[in-house]
Subunit: 543 residues, 2 copies
């Protein structure tokens, strides 16, 4: 049952369809990187996925041990470059373009969602220290984090505040040139583990003179061990018992007069955390796609192997066997195509975002980030469930593997900000910031996409009209009554996402081998936008 | 976190809205039955739900032990009548009308999905023996099954055949006035357990002279112990390791020259099994709703307790607290209303079906059964996931309880025939049998529903048109190319289900306290039908 083939060929197809070019990372370098990493995920990382789920974590005396196999895997990740692929070259990273980093993250997530989270968090911490840390912090911590000797975390949540960071109670005060940090944090992924020598926590806390609410939080770097080797009173007090993602420790952390270093300016912690979180949010969207992909591959393989009943179509019958492969049955094909056409569109959208990241198009990136985090994780969870359905009863057992993927993927809709929060970020923050200008840019992109294909033009034009109608409704109702805008935000995000998926298919439909899936998407999935538009307009029943 | 309140008040509201009357079970009897059962589920059954999940089953020497608490619960179910409520009075059952039996099943499933399956299967076996067994079998087994001394199973699946029962290999031959049955069966729920003295297996097997395929299977009653107390070589060889429903044993059974009794005529097994399965399919749809209800209650309670951020609407702010209850946030309200309005509609639809069962309206029942099995389990699974989302991170942990409900409920989309099979049953069998007459009856029901409410009329008329369009498409395309009909079947079923949910809301909208949820359903959920219709028409991309 368990099997994974890295989608390297499709990555290359997408890169070529999007006409992606990079002087340093030319076509050969890209192919070679993807193939090496893909092969390693197939042969080494993926086989640990089940072990992580079944063996899980050991917690004892404030120590967290991962399954034995994970230590060597972690070293392999470092050695083969999949760990530091997106990290700055200045400190030893590969500094690869985001489009490649995202593809790597998809494969890591297919191979082992839990372990991919460790690399995701360290990357985010590295990027934040690089952008906002002083020279001492950079020189001291970045080489060791990039080389994988140290890992990183992000410590936001406390028991009384998850979404509402204004209520943070963790405190810090200045002492000489350092800070003393005290407080409890929950939900800290990889807050404690035995893969690295040291763990570098980026912790949100309040200074004594801090203004109330989110304007009064500052960001501190708090290492588990100080550079002189001393313990810094950073301890893991327990682990959460979760539905899935069993090899990713979710820690209850305590900081007891621990020494910390301020990153950036006082009271600017939220801005810095958003820097880190935005990268993490994109990566979580990609994690969803990675798990959907492995579930899809499992379902497709099953549908090719399992024989039940005769094909309706006599040309599809194999009369030498007592029954036909279930992939010949239209309802099974429908399920598999539903899954595949959406994974491909999401994968292409993530590649497209990689190009947006590389161009530094901040407004567009700001809009696409919550869309990808929310839609790709929600949709991927649904697609994993659909893939499970293809296996019937076997899908519900440990033997079918997909039940693990469904338990694992469900967290992606929650962490790094629940999907509802993403929608509020899109409608209440990103769109307000530029008064809808980026949304109108997207409408124009849809309208002006060059295509000779009439159905493609029709689908994109329809989406453009739908978004325009939603935008008009929001301008008319949401500005005067922000509750209405909030009530409609999740469905507005889904509308945008559906249009963007069609936009990606407009590119990919030119590939002969994908045309059928493109048509399937145009007729079976794209019409969802009608529903989302009518829901946007019905927000008044919520308030 | 863990809490359940039986929806007895809403059951009564639905009974009165549907103007349900029964001479024997008058209003007072019904209220008293529901309240007694509801109270018992709240206080006794529900508290075992987590135990079942965490303790699970013990398998040793072919014996299966349920958690200790389950033995006394099982006796309580017998004593308070929830077990035998739908069973024939002739053998000691309560013979209650189906509408009440369905309500009881919903509460049992909220309280403990695993244990509800035991009662579901025994009821089905009793009904099959009662309808098709000879006098000896009835007199010998029914009193003990109805009194709960014996339980029942249905044994269809073998490793090479789940959906495709034509490939069954289990064999039987006649010896004197009995039969000798030999073979292996998989996925047998409650095939072995320690709750009852004896277990009565209804087993599909082939006689020596049987025609090939499904026309050659016969149904046998094979007890674990013979009436003289001797073992009958019926053994459990192992258990499946499942995602959820951990206290419901899913057994690998072996029959080794076991003595069996033919039920009904030779080679008529499939017809008999369908009798049993149809009742079970309805009940599984109800199981889904039961789990959705307990997840919803958990989410609603959490949203009332948890405080994060300030309400957008100043009138909803409680300034004595550092933050407001999250139930004031529009996106949280949207999630809760999405869940609640659909649970109510499904619950009402199940009550409606209860009346159809009581009237013996076989065609309508035949159509509604696959719709309820498929749609209510699929939708309930989605609603459990939406409820989990309300809890954020806590929802993903054992503390939040809903992660168990999500793991549990996922099986309902699979067992008693996967949801895809239900759709094929509707489109390929039930609709073909009466050439669409029942579907046209439903169209008329929608059109002629008496209502003074314009929006209600509009919603129902729109659904009538949508179904008509789908029916026309199926007649034009599906008859000439059955692959197209099969490709469209799942979305046709969803279209029918959505229309029926609106139909139930057309009844319930008259209740003042439900009007807002009714409007929410009309504007947020009913438009899904547009999507399903366009998918029905797009079936050609699948084939």
């Amino acid at each position: 049952m368990r099997y994974y083939q890295a989608p390297t060929k499709q990555f290359e197809q997408i890169l070529s369809t999007l006409d992606y070019k990079n002087d340093v990372y030319d076509q050969d370098t890209v192919r070679s990187l993807l193939e090496t990493a893909g092969g390693w995920v197939e042969k080494n990382l993926f086989p640990t996925n089940q072990i992580g789920d079944e063996v899980g974590l050991q917690y004892k005396n404030q120590q967290v041990n991962l399954p034995n196999e994970f230590k060597s895997l972690y070293s392999q990740m470092i050695d083969n470059g999949t760990y530091s692929i997106g990290m700055p070259a200045q400190w030893g990273g590969l500094d690869a373009p985001p489009i490649l980093v995202n593809m790597m993250m998809e494969m890591l997530s297919s191979g082992n969602l839990s372990l991919s989270t460790c690399s995701l968090l360290t990357s985010g911490a590295v990027s934040t220290i690089q952008a906002f840390g002083d020279d001492y912090l950079k020189a001291t911590y970045l080489p060791k984090m990039v080389s994988g000797k140290y890992s990183g975390t992000m410590c936001l949540t406390e028991s009384q505040c998850g979404t509402d960071l204004g209520m943070i109670r963790t405190k810090a005060y200045k002492k000489d040139d350092k800070y003393i940090v005290t407080g409890d944090k929950i939900w800290i992924s990889f807050g404690e583990h035995n893969l690295t020598e040291n763990i570098i926590h980026l912790v949100l806390a309040r200074l004594p003179d801090a203004p109330e609410g989110v304007k009064g939080i500052s960001l501190f770097l708090v290492p588990k061990f100080l550079e002189d080797g001393k313990e810094n009173k950073v301890t893991c007090q327990g682990l959460e018992h979760k539905m899935g993602s069993h090899a990713s420790p979710t820690c209850f952390m305590n900081y007891d007069n621990s020494i910390g270093y301020l990153i950036g300016e006082p009271h600017q912690g939220l801005k810095l955390m958003f820097h880190m979180m935005n990268a993490a949010r994109l990566a979580v969207g990609v994690q969803g796609i990675g798990v959907a992909e492995i579930a899809f591959q499992t379902a497709k393989q099953f549908a090719n192997d399992r024989r039940q009943s005769r094909a309706i179509n006599p040309n599809r019958r194999e009369m030498d066997f007592p029954a036909d492969r279930i992939i010949v049955h239209p309802d099974v094909r429908r399920m598999l195509m539903t899954v595949e056409c959406q994974i491909i569109a999401m994968r292409a959208l993530v590649a497209y975002v990689g190009i947006v990241q590389e161009k530094g198009d901040e407004h567009l990136l700001g809009h696409l980030t919550p869309i990808i985090k929310s839609f790709c994780t929600e949709r991927s969870t649904e697609l994993v469930s659909e893939s499970l359905q293809v296996l019937g009863g076997i899908g519900y057992t440990k033997d079918g593997a997909i039940e693990q993927y469904l338990r694992d993927v469900r967290i992606t809709m929650i962490y790094e900000g629940t999907n509802g929060i993403q929608a509020l970020d899109l409608v209440g923050r990103k769109m307000m910031k530029d008064a809808g200008a980026t949304i109108r840019r997207i409408i124009t992109m849809l309208r002006e996409f060059p295509s000779d294909d009439e159905q493609t033009k029709l689908v994109l034009d329809t989406h453009a009209e739908q978004i325009e109608a939603a935008l008009t409704w929001l301008a008319k109702n949401g500005l005067s009554d922000p509750e209405l805008a909030a009530a409609s935000s999740s469905d507005f995000l889904r509308l945008m996402a559906t249009a963007l998926m069609s936009y990606m298919w407009a590119h990919l439909i030119k590939e002969k081998d994908l045309e059928k899936l493109a048509r399937f998407h145009q007729t079976m999935i794209a019409p969802e936008a009608i529903l989302y538009l009518s829901r946007v307009k019905a927000g008044h029943w919520v308030t």
